[in-house]
């Protein structure tokens, strides 16, 4: 009677329990050690440099900014206060993840403070376009529709100008 009851603390169960506990402790120790040693330093940058360069093809290496998608995020007081930093972070990360060669930089106020965050997108060989009210969701649409396929979408600020810096 009761021999098949798993709740009984048989010697087998005790051994199992102890092993589990030891394993957990070991894991914790390993985790702590990892945290201790993991401080990013310039040595990591050297590794990144060789990794990136190894992955780059010759064609990419000779790529000029003009042959890449250029994005300028309006980052004056008005833009920053409306969330331009989040948009810029998002653009840099997502374009990299989606393998779209692009340069994302900051620029000043374009005078469309009411529509911040605003970004200026220049596809290679095309006129720059300014999009207003950009958040992460809108930025995703801009990448998928406009940058990848050239489709226009809502939120374009219609204005004739050469580029922001000329203002």
């Amino acid at each position: 009677m009761g021999t098949s009851d798993s709740r009984l603390l048989t010697s087998d169960n005790i051994i199992l329990l102890t092993t589990l506990l030891i394993e957990q402790n070991l894991l914790l120790i390993i985790k702590n050690q990892n945290q201790m040693t993991k401080i990013t330093s310039l040595a990591d940058l050297r590794k990144i440099k060789s990794d990136v360069e190894a992955k780059m093809s010759l064609r990419e290496r000779s790529e000029t900014p003009e042959s890449m998608v250029q994005i300028r995020v309006a980052m004056a007081t008005c833009g920053i206060a409306s969330g331009a930093k989040i948009v810029m972070d998002y653009m840099i990360n997502e374009l990299d993840k989606r393998n779209i060669p692009a340069v994302v930089t900051q620029t000043g106020c374009m005078g469309y403070c009411y529509a911040e965050p605003t970004i200026e997108v220049t596809r290679p060989g095309h006129q720059p376009l300014v999009f207003g009210y950009v958040d992460a969701k809108k930025a995703d649409q801009i990448i998928e529709k406009y940058i990848k396929n050239g489709e226009l979408l809502d939120g374009i600020i219609p204005v004739n100008y050469e580029n922001i810096e000329g203002k």
Binding site: V52, M75, T77, I80, A81, M88, Q106, G108
Partner: protein
């Protein structure tokens, strides 16, 4: 602005617009003196005394795209809200220094925010400008210097997304190490 890092992102742009080639940011956390100081120093075109007086007026700006300039006034307001202050020194042709003091223990002192992100995004946007960011806490000092970074990078651009990610990690880890608040 929601946090200090966003203010820094904003004010660093002033130095860029002023044509600086070297921009320094220094943060000193001195809980013993109940001070949290943020100092911006650049070698840009500087301002005359009349302009220095005007820059903290919200209705003064050098830009032509709009009629207000809120960067410095908002930062000043946030410093004064804690009982701190903002001092600006500038010389035409030499550069500008903006020294902001927050009272460390005051409840209205802004949260620090993502300084690592602020620095990485600014530095990568202006590859021709060098930035030196020093952060002092009672636990230690961290110096982030783009001259050093660019030397290591060689011809790999600082705007490379992997490099931006690296700079964020570098700053974040080291700030944690010196227990920056």
């Amino acid at each position: 602005m929601k946090d200090l890092a966003l203010h820094i992102l904003d004010i660093l742009q002033n130095s860029v617009t002023a044509g600086a080639t070297l921009v320094k940011l220094q943060i000193d956390e001195v809980p013993d003196k109940d001070e949290y100081r943020v100092k911006f120093t650049d070698n840009g075109k500087g301002m005359d005394s009349e302009m220095v007086k005007n820059v903290t007026d919200p209705f003064f700006t050098t830009r032509t795209t709009r009629k207000v300039g809120l960067g410095l006034p908002l930062l000043k307001q946030n410093a004064e809200r804690t009982g701190g202050n903002m001092m600006i020194q500038s010389q035409p042709g030499k550069g500008t220094e903006v020294d902001v003091m927050f009272v460390y223990s005051h409840i209205d002192r802004l949260p620090t925010g993502d300084i690592a992100g602020t620095m990485a995004l600014t530095v990568s946007s202006y590859p021709a400008i060098d930035f030196i960011y020093t952060h002092n806490t009672p636990e230690g000092t961290f110096i982030f210097d783009t001259i050093e970074i660019k030397e290591t990078l060689g011809d790999l651009p600082i705007s490379n997304p992997q490099v931006i990610g690296f700079m964020k990690d570098l700053i974040r880890d080291n700030l944690e190490e010196i227990k920056a608040s």
